[in-house]
Amino acid sequence: METKTIKNNEQSTSKTIRISGSEAVVRSLIAEGVDVLYGYPGGAIMPVYDELYKFQNEIHHVLTRHEQGATHAAQGYARISGKVGVAMATSGPGATNLITGIADAQIDSTPMVCITGQVGSHLLGSDAFQETDIVGISTPVTKWNHQVTKASEIPEVIAKAFYIAKSGRPGPVLIDITKDAQFEEFDFKYEKCTGIRSYKPIPETNQVDLQAAADLINNAKKPLVVWGQGVILGEAEAEFKAVIEKASLPSAWTILGASAIPSTHPLNVGMVGMHGNYAPNVLTNECDVLIAIGMRFDDRVTGNLATYAKQAKVIHFEIDPAEIDKNVKTDVAVLGNSKETLTAILPFLKENSHTEWHQKFKDLYQVEFDKVIRNDLHPTKDGLTMGEVLKEINEQSKGEAAIVSDVGQHQMIACRYADFNVSKSNITSGGLGTMGFALPAAIGAKMGAPERDVVMIAGDGGYQMTIQELGTIFQTKVPVKIVVLNNNFLGMVRQWQQLFFDKRYASTEMENPDFVAIAKGYHIDAKSVSKREDLANAVKEMMETKGPYFLEVMVEKEDNVFPMIPTGASVSDVRLE
């Protein structure tokens, strides 16, 4: 450990006790305020588990049924609580099973600390039983990682891990601890990390840029805000609302930005991107100033970069300097934490109205409503649509439930139609698009916010990728509501096959098991509906059930998600059918 950690003496604990490395791991986690962690034991992490047994009144370990489930649960916990999620696994296959969740957390900027056991340090590099180079494997998908071979390193490394995971643009960190370091005794004391030489989590805001951004916004005739998760991660919801209300800025969101302001807010003009709303996508190529806040111009948002908002001046509020000009060339970059930069710009903004410009969004919304939304939410054909299931959940939950969605058609439908009236309500795998995310993430989300209703929405494909976590739900009794929208297809792939591969449905049709029987096998109340007249009561029963509940809804087999921007097309070439 050569990296210099800056220590803040006020937070230091002077008390020193002689304990093992594994006890130090548990005491360090407690010192960081960890009350729950998700994991799976095994040979190389057993000493730590033995200590967890001792400390079970202070720290709750949740045994998931697969290590991937542990990482997604930790992500769900982190996303809803704003705290660091923690996952633990043994060496070798235990560690490699964490990788999908770590990669997901990295691309979605989720604070997570993963702890893995490792073979004894004398065996490192010898291809020992259950040895993998997890530090090497996880390097491209972690914000930071480190291997510990001496017990005395443990407190400092764990303190650094939490500081790095949470500060600046958050991300996952992995700590690998050899078994001998877990057994070794040393004099333990814990100091929280408050700074690291070489690491500056929040860049300084340049006042000139801030003023230039304010001038552009004040002079804009057709401004458009696109906000991302940076608003939520920066806890800047109130500041963001104040800014857009003062300058009357129509504001659209990326998938991870959803819920920062309520769906019903009059300035909320919907989602951008591949399956986003018609108006903000089309008008991206008409606005004169595009104000990006805490978002990273993902290709799913921009479509063809060569035609993306070419007419607009672009302002980018961003905490990560590497995002500036990465995909879209900006005219003004405002670096810093969104809470601080939005607070700072507010006094410079003029009150405005942009009435005609707002009307354009309303007009295009009406076009989308007539062509798409009406059919999705008020269908006239027999088969159930995914949209009407969401509409029913909105009504029963009063739009206050946290929606944890998996990946596929249902995810886009959930994002489009769920009412998000409370911040941190849209928990989904954005950047990596990880099927199997939702079920374990819902477990973590419910534990991270027990007071909230947590409704998981999955397709029949993704649900089966981590279906074993029903066992975790059964054992912990965590009252998540599980909704599977079953169309017996890998629906999104099927949609692409229909539109771009001449309806050649290669390996996308699924023959599914009796999902209700499986849920009941785990002692979870369950029901399946396929008729419109049964839907409302079934959703009501689910929401009113105190414990966990499984609801399968048989939906239209070959429904498509529109609007849609085909890959490589311009955002303004959005298809409505």
């Binding site: 050569e2 990296t3 390097t139 291997q147 700074g195 030489r197 070489s198 690491y199 990465k326």
Partner: protein
């Protein structure tokens, strides 16, 4: 589209295990081949300096510098054009000793190239040459005619013509 150019990257870092993996992965992901790489002590105690030579567009270079600076242990990364730096490479030639005595021309080559004889024994002698890539390549061509037993060349090392105020920057990090 700007054209590919040779850039020299200077990275000041903490001296940590595993950082090579992180830095090289940034180039690997973008399919950019590293021409040469060198890691050594720097003018500051406990701070390493990396010198990496790559061929790419300036736009790519800027984005990569951003990604490198994102790494927790990286203090600062810069990129320079050929004109902005003083740089050298070093190489070793192992050649049969007989040639040193029998081929007068070899003695002339050694003299004119400012190469240095590191060691001589009965079987072979070793020449060391530091300089620009073109000088080393010229020497290699000239000696090839007589036969080279072994040849190796280092990565580029470079210093900039303008100051790099890393010490000041490190102080700023701590406030």
């Amino acid at each position: 589209m700007s054209e590919n150019k040779l850039y020299t990257v200077s990275i000041y870092t903490e001296n940590n295990i595993g950082l090579l993996n992180r830095i090289s992965a940034i180039f690997q992901r973008r399919h950019i081949n590293i021409e040469s790489i060198n890691s050594s002590a720097s003018e500051i105690e406990n701070v390493s300096k990396w010198t990496i030579v790559v061929k790419l567009t300036e736009d790519q270079m800027k984005k990569i510098i951003g990604q490198i600076e994102k790494q927790v242990e990286v203090i600062k990364a810069y990129y320079h054009t050929e004109e902005e730096i003083i740089y050298q490479e070093s190489c070793l030639f192992k050649i049969k000793s007989d040639l040193l005595f029998e081929e007068r021309q070899i003695q002339n080559i050694i003299k004119e190239s400012n190469a240095r004889i590191v060691t001589v024994n009965k079987a072979f002698f070793v020449l060391e040459k530091s300089g620009r890539r073109s000088e080393i390549e010229l020497l290699h061509r000239e000696l090839s005619a007589f036969g080279i037993l072994q040849f190796t060349r280092s990565g580029r090392i470079a210093v900039t013509k303008t100051p790099m105020e890393i010490t000041k920057m490190l102080e700023a990090f701590q406030h």
